[in-house]
């Protein structure tokens, strides 16, 4: 049965833009990606039941590919990060942020450090980090790059390139943790929820790496919906989608994101993110 489901997914993946009236969604590859298709297919089943149209999950590999799929109408709904959501809404006029996770209104990033740096948890980023090496996560990650870089610039008044001896992009939060734990980089900037999940599961040795600073809160992940879905799927469809997302309460489904639940959101919430991204030259 699982085999059947999986092969259907693979086949339909190739048929993406063939059938016009299937509603498709995707999610940025950010949290735990194991058994991705299986878990998100359950979310698709839930949405299918609530929306009364065929719903399909499209697995996507990178932040950029998620935005591209949304822009090219290969998906109509997407679970974006703060920055990727802004990118997507700029490219698809009329699209709206319809919901965010209950944790996302006040999201934060952690700066983590290898114990050999001798750094301790503090109220502000210590001046001693100057000249050390730092790795961000993915280049367009809000929690792994954008906001940490913003707070670094705010505190030290210079770009990471000049502040640190070496700056890298590990590509992924889990990898940032692994690399700082191994001491490959002195410091790392990481999504707090990925860090806490890793600590809880015992996947990280907190004797070797620990949190030295938590950023102030900022808005992050969001569900963004294309503006033309009402025309294509019937009047009131976007409200139905919003309601279905806000009323999702099955812990098994929510664990895929992972969020406690979803709360309403709108485009205006993400204006600060947009401004910061423009300042850093990530948007134009």
């Amino acid at each position: 049965m699982r085999w059947l489901a999986a092969s259907t997914v693979v086949l339909t993946l190739f048929a993406q833009s063939v059938a016009a009236d299937t509603f498709r969604f995707t999610a940025i590859p950010d949290e735990d990606q194991s058994r991705l298709v299986e878990r998100f297919s359950k979310v698709a089943d839930y949405l299918e039941e609530r929306l009364d149209v065929e719903v399909e999950y499209v697995p996507v590999k990178s932040y950029g590919a998620t935005v591209t799929a949304f822009r090219n109408d290969q998906v109509q709904l997407a679970w974006f990060g703060g920055l990727s959501g802004v990118q997507a809404r700029r490219l698809v006029p009329g699209s709206v942020a319809v919901a965010q996770g209950s944790e996302d209104a006040a999201f934060k990033s952690y700066f983590i450090a290898h114990r050999s740096t001798g750094l301790e948890q503090a109220e502000a980023l210590p001046a001693a980090i100057e000249g050390m090496s730092l790795t961000f996560g993915s280049r367009t990650s809000t929690s792994g790059r954008l906001m940490p870089e913003h707070f670094l610039r705010q505190r030290f008044g210079q770009a990471p390139d000049t502040l640190f001896s070496r700056v890298g992009f590990s590509g992924d939060h889990s990898r940032t943790i692994a690399l700082v734990e191994a001491g490959t980089w002195d410091l790392g900037a990481v999504n707090f929820s990925v860090w806490e999940a890793a600590v809880e599961d015992g996947r990280v040795d907190t004797d070797k790496v620990e949190v030295i600073w938590a950023t102030p809160p900022y808005p992050d992940y969001n569900w963004t919906l294309r503006g033309d879905v009402d025309e294509r799927f019937g009047e009131g469809f976007s409200d139905q989608v919003r309601t279905a997302l806000l009323e999702m309460d099955d812990p098994e489904l929510l664990a895929s994101f992972p969020r406690e639940g979803f709360i309403p959101a709108d485009n205006a919430l993400y204006v600060p993110i947009e401004g910061i991204a423009e300042e850093l030259g990530l948007l134009r």
Binding site: A15, S34, V37, K61, S133, R166, S174, L179, A182
Partner: protein, 507 residues
């Protein structure tokens, strides 16, 4: 008179002087190595090892105890990997063969082929992804287009080297096509087929890599599992790929090919409806600077000014390419005897072949990550990954070449056979292979940007992520120009006579 002759003997040729092939090749090699040694101080090779052992142990455990059950639909991924490689290679032949016939005559075609070859399959995929989405069309075009350029060049060289007598015996006025079908193709067939088989193995590796950008081949899950540290799952997928490559001689038999081609076509499944609008938007707008489209020249200068400083990126790319090539040569020299039938016993050969398979089939990105953990962030992990991967590939081809040689000096011990008989016969081919491979190595520097080494590829990758396709496209053009220049240079430097000794089927 005779006395005078005795008094002024002809000067003895100095060390490494002279024009014999062996000496010239030795000079070539030593110049390359010397150049690398001189330039090493400019490379960023800091070593930093702190606590990599826990993570490395997890990786080793993952490879030793693969979690077969954790894979999500491995058979589909495997089937798709093969189907994409097969159809991508076929597409490359269909496009490349006609070009091969015109290759020698048209400068335009040669330049065009060099251009498509110069861009890495992954970057082609990223370009097509913007238009065709995650579809079989993206995967096939990402393979078929660069392969067309490669096939055109190599096929043209094979056809050039066939004996001319049958061709000359044809009556005048015979058309190009008839001449080709009756006097050229039959003579070249074996070598064309052998090269195609080798290219197919390359296509399998590339097909796995395409998974890294999101096409659902083996690489899709492999990259995710590896990135997130689920090494048992990554181990299972890697083993699956090693087995696929190791068993290629059996399942890749030519009698099975028609079946695989048809089955593969079914796996590739329905095609995306090509959206002309998307395609047009991409070619007419996305890849050009907005200022250029508006004819705003001042804006264009601003646009150029915002592009990161390219000089260090080009320097790093070339340096890594050179160091990678020299490293690959040394690795190949050290490893090829391990897999060759003239040395060792069946057990050592099995181990040797396994080692070469392991090194050439493990994606460079993973080798690089291993060294990144072990040695810290610098150019060094990228260098080692490139040298080992490409060195093992060259060693594999050289060992295969050596196996075809029957030693003619009985009673010589193994080191003697290596030094006096086999190496002199193999080395010209090995060096020629390296010169061809240098082009590939340079292309591969592009995908090691994650190490924080600011090569051109690092910026291309970044701009694809920022969705600044115009900048990415501009940098791709710069990369292509650089590759074409290096290719021209390596063709000029490549010892001439090796073209005859070298078997193009092994490139």
């Amino acid at each position: 008179m005779t006395l005078a002759d005795h008094r002024t003997p002809a000067p003895r040729p100095g060390w490494l002087a002279g024009q014999s092939t062996g000496v010239r090749l030795a000079r070539h090699t030593l110049t390359l190595v010397a150049l690398a040694v001189v330039l090493v101080p400019f490379a960023d090779l800091a070593v930093l090892t702190r606590d990599p052992w826990a993570e490395l142990a997890r990786m080793a455990k993952g490879l030793a105890w693969p979690a077969w059950g954790a894979m999500e639909s491995p058979l589909e991924a495997l089937g798709l990997t093969v189907a994409v490689a097969l159809w991508g290679t076929l597409g490359g032949i269909v496009l490349g063969f006609p070009l091969a016939l015109l290759f020698a005559r048209s400068r335009l075609i040669r330049a065009g082929c060099a251009f498509v070859r110069a861009i890495h399959e992954l970057f082609w995929a990223l370009l097509f992804l913007q238009v065709f989405g995650l579809s079989a069309a993206t995967a096939l075009m990402a393979l078929a287009i660069p392969y067309a350029g490669i096939f055109a060049k190599v096929f043209a060289e094979i056809l050039e080297q066939i004996p001319g007598a049958p061709r000359d015996a044809l009556p005048p006025g015979v058309s190009r096509l008839s001449r080709f079908v009756y006097a050229e193709l039959p003579l070249a067939w074996t070598r064309l087929a052998a090269y195609t088989r080798y290219r197919f193995e390359c296509a399998l590796r590339a097909s796995v890599l395409l998974g890294f950008v999101g096409l659902p081949t083996l690489g899709f899950q492999l990259e995710t599992a590896f990135r997130e540290g689920r090494y048992h799952e990554a181990g299972a997928l890697l083993w699956l790929f090693y087995l696929l490559i190791a068993s290629l001689p059996w399942w890749g038999h030519r009698r099975l090919m028609p079946l695989l081609v048809l089955g593969g076509a079914f796996l590739l499944g329905p095609w995306p409806a090509v959206d002309g609008g998307l395609l047009w938007r991409f070619v007419s707008q996305d890849i050009w600077p907005p200022a250029l489209l508006e004819g705003d020249w001042r804006g264009l200068i601003d646009w150029l000014a915002r592009i990161p400083d390219l000089a260090p990126a080009i320097g790093n790319t070339l340096l890594l390419g050179l160091l990678g090539s020299v490293g690959a040569l040394l690795v190949a020299l050290a490893l090829w005897p391990l897999a060759c039938r003239h040395f060792g016993n069946p057990v050592t050969r099995l181990v040797g072949r396994g080692l070469l398979l392991f090194l050439r089939s493990t994606p460079e990105l993973m080798l690089a990550f291993f060294f990144l953990l072990l040695l810290g962030p610098s150019l060094l992990p990228a260098w080692l990954a490139l040298a080992l991967h490409n060195g093992a590939l060259i060693a594999f081809l050289v060992a295969r070449h050596a196996d075809a040689i029957t030693p003619g000096m009985p009673g010589v011990n193994a080191p003697g056979r290596l030094a006096y008989e086999l190496l002199p016969r193999l080395y010209p081919g090995m060096l020629a292979l390296l010169y061809y491979r240098a082009e590939v190595i340079l292309r591969e520097t592009a995908i090691l940007g994650m190490l924080g080494v600011a090569t051109l590829g690092y910026y291309i990758d970044a701009n694809f992520e920022y969705l600044l396709f115009d900048v990415a496209f501009f940098l791709l053009l710069v990369t292509a120009a650089l590759n074409i220049a290096v290719d021209a240079l390596s063709r000029r430097l490549r010892p001439r006579e090796t073209a005859i000794i070298d078997d193009p089927c092994q490139r």
